[in-house]
Symmetry: C2
Subunit: 303 residues, 2 copies
């Protein structure tokens, strides 16, 4: 099942029209009247978190953070969260609370309510309200903008593979997978510097860049060397240990929660410049030494 | 596992304090700065909905409505919803969408975003934002108020039992279980008439009245005859068909989504008067012909 193909069937809102909703289904978060943005995300034990390799505390931290990452991708600051937790038994309750509190302390915003349900599958659904003076949409990239990256690519994918294979990689990789950090300050800084669009890299760089390209009706031409560099030494070491192509990890590894941004040159003061926005059929082209790179993996859109 | 005993361990908010949050964990919904109220609810197939007895369309309708019922219990009007859906496969997607749209049409407000995840257990988590000029809290009941009920008691429990046993009962009972309606207009009317507290009856009347009694530090003295009357002819017919005590169905049957209100006499123009608020140890006393009724069922608080 592809989430994107199912969601593509939906209109911007379901049910009666609402004058107050500026952006609905299809962006990182909904943009409501005024400056409110609103998002929800679900993590399921065994699907999004490995029960035997990371703790429930990690899972709850991750659930709270990855949902907040959608606010970062809107250039929003977090206000409040609600958590809906499904538990097979009482065992997990305190560990989940601890993981949530650790994430909340980093995010500087509280959980103000929620729901607790008994069910067969442990899951955590976190919904965040945030405030954005100028929400960054996927549709805002313009020809002539540069493309920037806040954060690192490939580390989380390397960390996950290391956990699955018990191969030793730099701690930063395992940390990137187990305890991702929402880049909220980067999102706010991007707004201040005039960014035109943003998305958080959760599905993998090429897939997420494709969402921006399609929504904006532009082509993103990305530089393989610059993308690779965002992973730094840790990515090179990990890819060697795992016998993987580091570029493949950087391009298709998901769950990095880096921010992919477009905008004017001013963004280059803060973020790594990784490409340019060009006219042409909406899509993503990754160039290495001036030639398109063949990338593997299940991406919908690879120019 | 008792949701209430676990939630009782939690403070009003988790994580950093927030000046903007007026009411956090422990009421029907959180009350945020200004007039926003916010709530979330999860329905799981096989736990809260019977896969073989009601359709996925019913389940989605119900999930959208029961979450909105928390807004009714705050005296709020619905603004927007987000839906986080976990699906084992694509099969359910369109049925869920139809059920949601039917509920949204009745509620007059849209779903503006959400999340779609693959998982082993079909679940729908709906979060609603609403607006209340004066939120009705569980803690507002005052000695001297009367107690009122908007809606019917016992029908949903009778409907559920009828579905499980294939015994014939009035359609209204099955309908009350399968297609509950959030009493949003009643909640708004109660605010206008000066109501002091409200809760929606989801756990069962005595249990939910207990929540109000504890939060307000008062005793609720309820009249069995008046409570029974809210179920009308349908409750009497159903209880006879099911060989059940109608009062037991009315007192402990959950999922009615009636509103239990407290406030001044003016509420009597619109709602059934079912009791009075008295001083004394917080609790609920149900009187029949002037004597306390013995009620069965797992209620926390029965005076």
């Amino acid at each position: 099942m592809s989430e994107h193909s199912l969601l593509a069937r939906l209109p911007a809102t379901l049910g009666p029209p609402s004058a107050g909703c500026r952006v609905g289904i299809g962006d990182d978060a909904a943009w409501l009247d005024g400056e409110l943005v609103w998002t929800v995300d679900t993590l399921i034990e065994g699907v999004h978190a490995l029960p035997s390799r990371s703790t429930l505390e990690d899972m709850a931290f991750r659930a709270t953070m990855t949902s907040a990452s959608d606010l970062a991708a809107m250039g929003a600051a977090p206000l409040y969260a609600l958590a809906a937790v499904t538990l097979p038994n009482e065992r997990a309750f305190e560990a989940i609370r601890r993981g949530q509190e650790q994430a909340l302390a980093r995010l500087g915003a509280p959980i103000v309510g929620g729901n607790l349900t008994r069910g067969g599958e442990l899951s955590i659904t976190t919904t965040w309200l945030g405030r954005a003076t100028r929400p960054l949409l996927r549709s805002g990239a313009r020809v002539g903008d540069s493309v920037y990256l806040a954060g690192n690519l490939g580390l989380a994918a390397a960390g996950l593979e290391a956990l699955l294979t018990s191969i030793d990689v730099p701690t930063a990789c395992v940390q990137a997978h187990v305890r991702p950090i929402a880049r909220l300050e980067d999102g706010l800084r991007a707004v201040a510097l005039g960014a035109t669009s943003a998305i958080d890299v959760s599905d993998g760089l090429v897939a997420d860049a494709g969402h921006v390209a399609r929504a904006s009706g532009v082509s993103l031409v990305l530089d393989a060397r610059a993308l690779l560099a965002t992973g730094g030494e840790a990515l090179l070491l990990a890819s060697r240990a795992l016998s993987r192509d580091p570029l493949e990890l950087a391009l298709s590894g998901g769950d990095d929660y880096a921010l992919l941004l477009t905008g004017p040159d001013a963004l280059g003061d803060e973020f790594a410049r990784v490409g340019v926005v060009e006219p042409g059929a909406p899509g993503v082209v990754v160039l290495r030494d001036g030639r398109p790179v063949e990338t593997r993996g299940g991406h919908d859109h690879l120019g």
